[in-house]
């Protein structure tokens, strides 16, 4: 069954509402400004209106309430809207949700999901384009889900809503909503925390997450087609837990690593992967690693400026050729 990322989200939300009465929606704008995608949620909005809460523009309060409800037995998902609004709620997410299980000595858990549409989306400018997966990587106790495909949008959302025992930040991306994939019923799904090899290869490993997954896939195909390079694509799927093992195994095989990540270059997801390689995979590295990330610059509105900073297929190809010494 071919589904889109947006369909995957809508399906996961609907099925979760059906499966567990403790699932509550705090907000319902999961598709952002994408009107077509919004329609996909209509059936849930209709059928489960009593499980959706009216939401003033109070991100801190809403996220805190979601945590409190989770702590007391519900399984809420709160729609933060654009990823950049997560900063309004940082105190609750970073200093409450993440710590509750630990500081209660394991007495209490908070299976809450914070959902947002993060990333460089076209015209979002400096204040609506944040990617926060790396920042949140500094927060032990938070799961960071960053699906790069429709099937993972479905699987990870459903897992977060029905199975997870810990707080999760679900990082969606406006520019992924229309991506499609096969949702094969009964196909094996890697456990949460395990990366996926989206494409096997021999010459170079490309490590990607969220929006960079389809771009890296396109890059890998171009590398094959145009340069005879066999690139392996590792889709991290989750930033916490981070599947270092799969990354190390892939690089052990290829000897070369390009990390494609939409975070800012410094202190980004690419930094953590590169550091892991410097620490645990050094002997396998045949060439310096290459981070293909967003420069350390706020996101400008003007389209050509935004494009200049964006991680594209072309830049990933260039990164791969560089680590291959071509």
């Amino acid at each position: 069954m071919k589904i889109s990322f947006a369909e995957g989200l809508a399906k996961a939300i609907h099925e979760s509402l059906e499966a567990d009465a403790r699932v509550v929606l705090i907000g319902s704008g999961f598709m952002g400004l994408n009107m077509a995608a919004r329609k996909l949620l209509e059936p849930s909005v209709q059928k489960f209106s009593d499980r959706m809460l009216v939401t003033p523009v109070s991100e801190l309060g809403l996220c805190g309430a979601a945590i409190g409800a989770a702590v007391c037995g519900q399984r809420p998902v709160v729609d933060i809207g654009t990823g950049s609004f997560i900063f309004q709620a940082f105190a609750q997410i970073v200093n409450e949700a993440a710590n509750i299980h630990y500081m209660s000595g394991g007495q209490t858990s908070a299976p809450v999901t914070f959902y947002c549409l993060a990333g460089i989306r076209g015209g979002g400018a400096a204040q609506h384009s944040h990617r926060m997966q790396a920042m949140l990587g500094q927060v032990p106790g938070l799961q960071i889900l960053a699906p790069g495909s429709a099937e993972d949008a479905y699987h990870l959302m459903k897992w977060a809503l029905l199975e997870s025992r810990n707080p999760s930040v679900f990082i969606s991306h406006s520019l992924l909503l229309a991506e499609t994939a096969d949702l094969a019923p009964g196909a094996a799904v890697p456990p949460v925390g395990k990366a996926r090899i989206r494409r096997p290869g021999r010459d170079v490993s490309i490590i990607a997450n969220s929006i960079t997954v389809p771009r890296a896939l396109a890059a890998a195909e171009a590398l094959e087609r145009e340069h005879g390079v066999s690139a392996e694509l590792v889709d991290l799927r989750t930033i916490a837990p981070l599947d270092r093992e799969t990354v190390l195994q892939s690089v052990a095989k290829t000897g070369r690593a390009v990390i494609a990540d939409e975070c800012h270059r410094s202190f980004g997801v690419a930094a953590e992967i590169a550091a892991t390689l410097a620490e645990e995979g050094l002997a396998q590295l045949k060439a310096p690693v290459c981070r293909v990330a967003v420069p350390d610059v706020p996101i400008p509105f003007s389209p050509p400026l935004e494009t200049e900073l964006t991680v594209t297929k072309e830049k990933i190809v260039a990164g791969a050729l560089k680590v291959l010494g071509r």
Partner: protein
């Protein structure tokens, strides 16, 4: 003075209509917000300001900037992301700012400009000149940032005027006290600043004379050291602002509507009773202060000016890619 006000309002309206057209034509990328139906507020409030004052706005800033004297050409170029814009294309519509006109920075986050505005008022108090004025929407009152900013304004007694443009008021309630916006549980929106001892009142945003009286008085009080003031401007949402992306229901606004002609679009017919421009024009005409031909001349100039602004903007090149790396650091 009347002609000046009408000119200012018509310029805003024609500017915004150009934005809607550009967006439809695929030239204006991303989300944007227009000020149609709220023009009297910016015109009246900014008329009482001086060059020493600071103004803070939101995503819905076009009218505020025009009222402060910004160039429609540079604004439009900015909105289209061109090098000739005020920020060389970096801000777009969301963060339009013109430092030399007292608009140093524009936040597009609900409530976020309010703490900044308090700090600006603090700077005014420290240097002994100027005041801060913050325009913001009714949803601003749902953010903790609004609450903390109001608290600080009250504790520090800084010279700030909070101008909450409540554009969710149905026509019949525009002048009455009840609060009818989104999700604030207050009986009256004013009750929140009042609880923090910030004097607060409401004014009809469709009544230019009431606005003038109100802003002149409140800005006078703030300027003379009276501490913060809060005003809720009650206006009725223009039907073109109800969709996610602004549209022009019934087409461009027609001057004839102010002089008896009836729009075809029913929503617009209803809304005209709340249109500050129509109400002002009718009042002026009734008083013999400004006749239709004078208004037509003003409108013609406004249309020409805004068409020019669009031409300027479209002719302005996009910035060179290397510009992306400038201005990270001062």
């Amino acid at each position: 003075m009347h002609a000046k006000r009408v000119t200012a309002m018509l310029r805003m309206r024609r500017f915004e209509e150009q934005c809607v057209e550009l967006s439809k034509a695929g030239q204006l990328l991303g989300h944007y917000h227009v000020y149609i139906g709220q023009e009297a507020t910016a015109v009246s409030a900014c008329a009482a300001l001086t060059a020493d004052d600071f103004v803070f706005s939101t995503w819905r800033n076009h009218g505020h900037l025009l009222a402060k004297g910004a160039s429609p050409q540079k604004m439009m170029a900015e909105i289209l992301g061109r090098s000739g814009g005020y920020a060389g294309g970096k801000s777009g519509t969301l963060h339009l700012a013109v430092r030399e006109l007292g608009v140093p920075t524009t936040s597009a986050l609900v409530g976020a400009s309010l703490p900044l505005a308090i700090g600006s008022a603090l700077a005014c108090k420290r240097r002994g000149s100027g005041i801060a004025l913050a325009f913001f929407g009714d949803a601003g009152l749902e953010e903790g940032a609004f609450y903390e900013a109001t608290l600080l304004a009250s504790v520090w007694r800084v010279p700030i005027l909070f101008v909450c443009e409540n554009n969710s008021i149905p026509p019949e309630q525009r002048k009455r006290g009840q609060y009818t916006s989104s999700t604030l549980p207050a009986a009256r929106l004013l009750d929140v600043p009042l609880a923090l001892k910030v004097p607060a009142e409401a004014v009809d945003g469709a009544d230019m004379d009431a606005l003038d009286e109100c802003f002149n008085r409140l800005i006078g009080e703030v300027r003379s050291g009276g501490g913060p003031r809060f005003v809720e401007v009650r206006c009725t949402r223009w039907p073109g602002n109800i969709m996610t992306w602004p549209e022009l229901p019934g087409g461009a606004w027609q001057l004839a509507w102010a002089f008896g002609a009836k729009p075809e679009n029913a929503q617009i017919v209803d809304w005209l009773a709340s249109d500050p421009l129509v109400l002002y024009l009718r009042k002026l005409a009734a008083a013999g202060a400004l006749d239709r031909s004078q208004v037509e001349a003003i409108d013609q100039r406004a249309r020409t000016e805004m068409a020019d602004a669009v031409r300027f903007a479209l002719a302005s090149p996009y910035p060179a890619p290397a510009e992306a790396y400038r201005h990270v650091w001062a």
